[in-house]
Symmetry: D2
Subunit: 283 residues, 4 copies
């Protein structure tokens, strides 16, 4: 049976844990996972409470209603999710296939609990792969001077499919501020550098020129400020003088795949809360 | 001002989070950190709650008394600690100085909040170092056939100093089952292998013979079953065919120092709970 | 244009580097990569020399002939490879698809320079995947009491395809000593534990029971001594009390895929030399 | 008995390996370690050859003379070192003691084969520690507007002691371009960020503000371009939303200590060659 996940962020003050826990207990629920964090810089309270519903005497919508007065009292930013709700996802790609392929594979094996509604790419290259996975493939090329038209077509498609989560799987097109604003906290990008190092183009070339001994990649929410959105997950790999740019790219590909998958999983499991430019990612 | 830390483990059942949180809230306390874990194999509930006491209307002993009925109702294993209580610690060492030296240094710089009451060693080598740090040094050698007498002397000293935490900083003597039983969950050992690999003597030689590509070390609670106590922390480092036994030892030393310090810090911050042969270590 | 790779192991003695380098230089070759290691325990010399052939005045077979006297003088174990020779590979699998899938994908994208001649599995599950990748799929089930017959069929197939490298991609059948002896240094297995910890069955269960804080996987040559062949590559990932057996399995899968791919790549690039139970893996 | 270490960098061309190996062999030397790298971007050849001298028939100065014609023929940047030559080192520090303390400890235990001639600090804080280690401590404070005078005093002291390697152990003063030019490749700095991320002041604050999930540190050669010298070694540690700036600092301290020690050891073992802005660090 499904669990409910209650995500809370609000100004810190006493009584929040008790208020939510009491309500759950009053209605026969069992808290099976609770993580809490208080940010002492911003004085903000964050909480993720996972509740078994077997013995719960509230229906899902009743639970949301019952939480309303608590949310208002503490000025909460409140989300209530259920673990059997599978989010509708679109994966956007350009030329590089590895992140797209990995996500489709994790979806196919059931490791990633998402409903992939569409693969959208500005290149035709991955149609066959998408077809093998049984996912609709939309080739929306960017014509010279027609970037806006292409983005409009992408957004139409996302709306038509009711997409709730957009994964940029090495999608090399810049999104407009309007697009980012429509999907705040719903667009995850993988950047092939250890941000904030090597922002901008060709990070593996930059890393090679600088002679770093470790390279990294970054999964972050896309925002209007390019490469500057809140970071969800990062990872690194050791390199040496033996690694030329092509070797960095190859090592980086494995990292990109792993880090993007971890970020998407965290999002899908409702474990990420945004705190300004930072994130709280519960384990 | 100090915080209280409430550590709970008990059979899992609904209402535990609410019961503790309510009591805290009722008396004006503010929960600043709460971590909870339910072990689904053993159906055991674990919780660490850290409470600011500024506005709390219970004295420390009153808080413990007030928690009593809750503890009984849920059959809790309950500990209540306060962050300004500094534990009395003894460090036991043999020939190798690195872990001892590192602990004394972290204590001297204030990074490790402990009260080092005694350094006990079965060798005289570290007397000068202990003296420089201003810590009493007790040389209790093990005479042939007199292991029990030496252990008795060690235990007398620990009792005389009221020691609450014993750190085995590469102490190469085996402790009796009685000793381990007297200090359950209060003796931390650093083992120079990635347990359970290479149990027993000369793990770096064993690791070299086996040709592993990564070596590790393990901090664990000492129990009557040698090298088999619950693991608190582990870490690893990559090695290669270029590393002979001496190189493994050198790499291992840095790991031992780091992992033992992290384990002691977790213990001192009341972040470790034992779950059979496993541990719950909250962040 | 292809390079030659000269792999040497022999008893250590002066003059080996000079002897090989002289021969290369005499015939107009350019050494573009040279790595050397002397094992001081076994007094064994190891060397990998990569030579550009553009300006080399010996044909491939002439080079091998010319190295003959040097090899005899120093009692060398000598291999000469060329980087445009693509090894014929068979991938053996059982139920778990992830390592198989990853290898086929790396082959398809050209990242892994191998010629996958056959996928052999004792289960029918992966036929469709193999078909999509365009690789022959051989379902050779193990009937009760017929293990030997199945192995004979596998070996017939390997011989028929002229297979030079056998990758056990989570193949859960034990190979006979004869099979291992026929393909010494040519069978790479991925073991889902950080060997020598948790040898034998169900390593993720064992790791969970023991409460380790880090899990790992091991790629090694298969030998008649189960789980005891020379280790090529290992890697680890941090886990916590939050990870149940299923979570360990999921984290382990990503590791298995990465470590097996790295080991196969090292083998294919002629960077692995065996030294008793240990390996020398040049970067 | 000591070994010789021959370090070579020069434009890539055929015959270099053979030329050096021949000379060694001709005079009865045994190559016990040889590492070579060809940078294909800069077309530069790098080599480190370690030679046992037991049976070598050239004296040390004769070896250097004998290498002269080879060096000229290939336009080599050539260094010849001997493993029993212990470099004279000065450690420069400011307020933070951890890197200084660790280096002195590694020197005292014999792990780091250096001759620490002087500790120089612009604060008086570490005099007692230096005294315990038996190392001369020079307090050279920076008076307002007198930075140049202080640097002149530092350089006088370095010259008087014949210092060959300067370790900046969290020394927070900027060195002049002249100072850097006098000691090219002889000044190692530890920077408390994962360069090039968070250059400049307060990197742990910057890292916290940006919300990175991993922090790192960098050991590099000091050059006139601040924080931009060739990188010798880096390492990283995972952090989370739970880590405030003080926690980042504490995790960073352990990293700084480890990475600086590794970089100094690589330098002392003659394993680092500079390649423009990059380094070749042989294992």
């Amino acid at each position: 049976m499904a669990n409910a996940v209650v995500l809370v962020s609000c100004p810190d003050q006493p009584g929040i844990v008790a208020a939510v826990a009491d309500l759950v207990h009053l209605h026969g629920g069992n808290i099976v996972d609770l993580q809490q964090h208080t940010d002492r810089v911003d004085h903000t309270f964050f909480q993720r409470v996972e509740v078994e519903l077997d013995t719960f005497d509230l229906a899902r919508d009743e639970f949301v209603v019952a939480l309303g007065p608590i949310a208002r009292r503490y000025a909460m930013n409140l989300q209530v999710r259920f673990t059997d709700e599978i989010p509708r996802v679109a994966v956007l790609a350009s030329r590089e296939p590895h992140c797209l392929h990995d996500l489709l594979n994790r979806w196919r094996t059931g490791e990633l609990k998402v409903d992939v509604r569409a693969v959208i790419a500005n290149h035709p290259d991955h149609a066959e792969m998408a077809s093998w996975y049984g996912v609709p493939y939309h080739h929306l090329p960017v014509q010279a001077g027609e970037r806006e038209a292409q983005e409009a077509a992408v957004r139409d498609l996302l709306r038509a499919e009711g997409v709730e989560l957009i994964v940029l799987a090495r999608y090399m097109q810049i999104l407009s501020a309007e697009f980012c604003a429509e999907y705040v906290g719903q667009i995850i990008n993988i950047h092939h550098s250890f941000l904030p190092a090597f922002m901008g183009a060709k990070p593996y070339h930059q890393a090679h020129d600088r002679g770093v001994k470790i390279i990294g990649v970054t999964a972050h929410y896309a925002t209007a400020d390019l490469d500057d959105g809140p970071i969800i997950e990062q990872d690194v790999v050791r390199v040496s003088h033996r690694d030329d740019v092509e070797a960095l790219r190859a090592k980086g590909r494995d990292l990109e795949v792993a880090v993007l998958a971890r970020a998407v999983r965290a999002q899908v499991e409702h474990r990420v809360l945004v705190c300004g430019r930072r994130t709280v990612v519960f384990d």
